[in-house]
């Protein structure tokens, strides 16, 4: 019992710290990529406490619910968007032993849990009684449905190659050669993950130049902060998932001791890559976005799946 509590607390701590670390990294990396310095004052040293200060500010804001809004759905939506990532984070292993809950079908669990987050966006978009929120919610739903398919297909490819749907099992079966012959699947996963997170260049649902802030338009204070937190928690989950599935997780020198460090390091690398994409690339239009998903990513993921299946069949005795 005590162990369960400790493990849960560990996941909660990671869930509260890692997204802030990614957010701060985004602040600084994006600033320097744009020739700025980013936050410099909060906390003293290079603005390290900027997000803590932001959190304090969000807590002080008035929590407004529009009169025409569907009250309970509106109030519940941030939690529905945020909690699935907490649940998903619980089953992602940092090493073969450092994992909060070693679920047998970990891959399926993570994908299922993170897919629930879509409901939060839809609820927010529908219940806000705001046309921009509704437009954003519809775009989010269309986008997330389209990109769920290539995401699942590319994950199915590594699961097939490893012969297991357990996350620790996949990372154990990983071989450096995967970097080569699972590369198309990895690219599809990365692009689909960025789209799932609605990060630029796939930020059509929250495109602030067209529809204010999409589903989050009517949100204020802590509930708005929860949506932002869920975005960064999503980056953490997807980055760690990418590291475990495609980069061998805790594989590396001294993996017996430094295993979790390797996983976190690889995840951090992917997070920085996701930030880098945001800074560099323009937003895709809605039709381009759908075209990319259905005409490029799905065929690519299917081809990868066929390749993996052929390999597995031929290499099995």
């Amino acid at each position: 019992m005590l162990e369960v509590v400790l493990r849960s607390l560990g996941v909660l701590a990671a869930f509260l710290v890692l997204p802030l670390v990614v957010g701060q990294t985004e602040h600084k990396v994006m600033a320097h990529m744009q020739g700025r310095l980013g936050p410099m004052y909060a906390g003293g040293f290079h603005g390290w406490a900027q997000l803590v200060a932001d959190g304090v500010k969000f807590v002080q804001k008035e929590d407004i619910t529009p009169r025409a809004a569907d009250r309970w759905v509106f109030k519940l939506a941030p939690a529905v968007a945020l909690v699935p990532y907490l649940v998903a984070l619980a089953v992602i292993p940092l090493s073969a032993t450092v994992v909060a809950a070693d679920v047998g079908a970990g891959v399926l669990f993570v994908l299922a849990a993170s897919a629930v987050g879509i409901l939060g966006l839809l609820m927010a978009g529908w219940s806000s009684a705001n046309k921009y929120a509704l437009l954003g919610g519809m775009r989010a739903a269309a986008q997330l449905l389209s990109y769920e398919l290539p995401l699942v297909l590319s994950v199915a490819s590594v699961a097939l190659a490893a012969g297991t749907v357990s996350l620790t099992g996949i990372a154990d079966a990983w071989h450096p050669l995967w970097l080569v012959w699972q590369l198309p699947g990895a690219l599809v996963f990365l692009i689909a993950a960025v789209a799932e997170l609605q990060r630029p260049p796939f930020d059509m649902p929250v495109a602030d130049s067209e529809i204010v802030m999409g589903p989050f338009t009517e949100y204020t204070g802590l509930r708005f902060a929860f949506f932002l937190l869920s975005e960064y928690a999503g980056i953490v989950v997807m980055s760690l998932l990418f590291a475990v599935l495609f980069l061998g997780g805790w594989r590396g020198p001294f993996s017996g001791v430094l295993g979790p460090v390797w996983t976190l390091l690889k995840g951090a690398l992917i997070s920085v890559l996701i930030i880098w994409l945001r800074v560099s690339w323009p937003r895709l239009r809605e039709d381009q976005l759908q075209r990319l998903a259905w005409l490029v990513l799905v065929p690519l993921a299917l081809a990868q799946l066929a390749l993996t299946a052929g390999w597995v069949v031929l290499s099995s005795p």
Binding site: V29, H32, M33, Q34, G35, R36, M40, S280, W281
Partner: protein, 188 residues
């Protein structure tokens, strides 16, 4: 950028979107690697050029209350009050002299448009540009600065920049070097 010069009329080639995406990544990475040019102003004072038009400083001793600056000021933001004093003759049987004494000299910086005409027009170099700029006020009425405050900015006025090589001597030097006038020859 220079290696993609197109002659006028030649339509730019479309390279597809993958090279464009990579170019975007490369540009941001290069910017990340170069130090940013942000001036951290309140922590680090800016390096202002010597001719910066920050504020107008007054050297009170040079002012003769001639009112030229106040009359030339396009928005009439200079206020001057003065009175005449009579100085007793320095030698016996000499003539009494009169001179202007400056009572008030004020510039309203809420009106001033920093044209610098007052400084140009001052015949006795009583007004100077100072690079000092941190004199913002919460109330616009507090921007009317009297001669004490204007005099406080005088030490911040930078020395005039050196003359261009082979330029003519400045007026003062030229006047000092001029040979003294000799008495005109009397006709016998």
């Amino acid at each position: 950028m220079t290696d993609h010069q197109h002659s006028p009329g030649d339509s730019p080639k479309t390279n597809g979107f993958i090279p464009g995406l990579i170019k975007g990544l490369a540009t941001t990475a290069r910017t990340l690697a170069t130090p940013s040019h942000t001036a951290e102003y309140p922590d680090v004072q800016p390096h202002l050029p010597p001719r910066t038009r920050g504020v107008i400083a007054l050297l009170e001793e040079n002012c003769t209350s001639c009112m030229l600056c106040a009359r030339e000021c396009p928005d009439w933001c200079i206020y001057i009050d003065s009175h005449k004093e009579t100085l007793p003759a320095t030698t016996e049987g000499g003539r009494e002299r009169q001179r202007n004494v400056l009572d008030r000299f004020a510039i309203d910086f809420s009106l001033c448009m920093y044209c610098g005409i007052c400084i140009e027009v001052c015949p006795f170099d009583a007004l100077h540009w100072s690079p000092e700029f941190e004199y913002a006020e919460l109330n616009i009425l507090d921007l009317l600065h009297e001669k004490d405050r204007l005099g406080e900015w005088m030490p911040t006025v930078p020395a005039p920049s050196a003359l261009d090589p082979r330029s003519a001597d400045p007026q003062e030097v030229a006047a000092a070097n001029k040979p003294p006038r000799t008495a005109p020859e009397r006709r016998q």
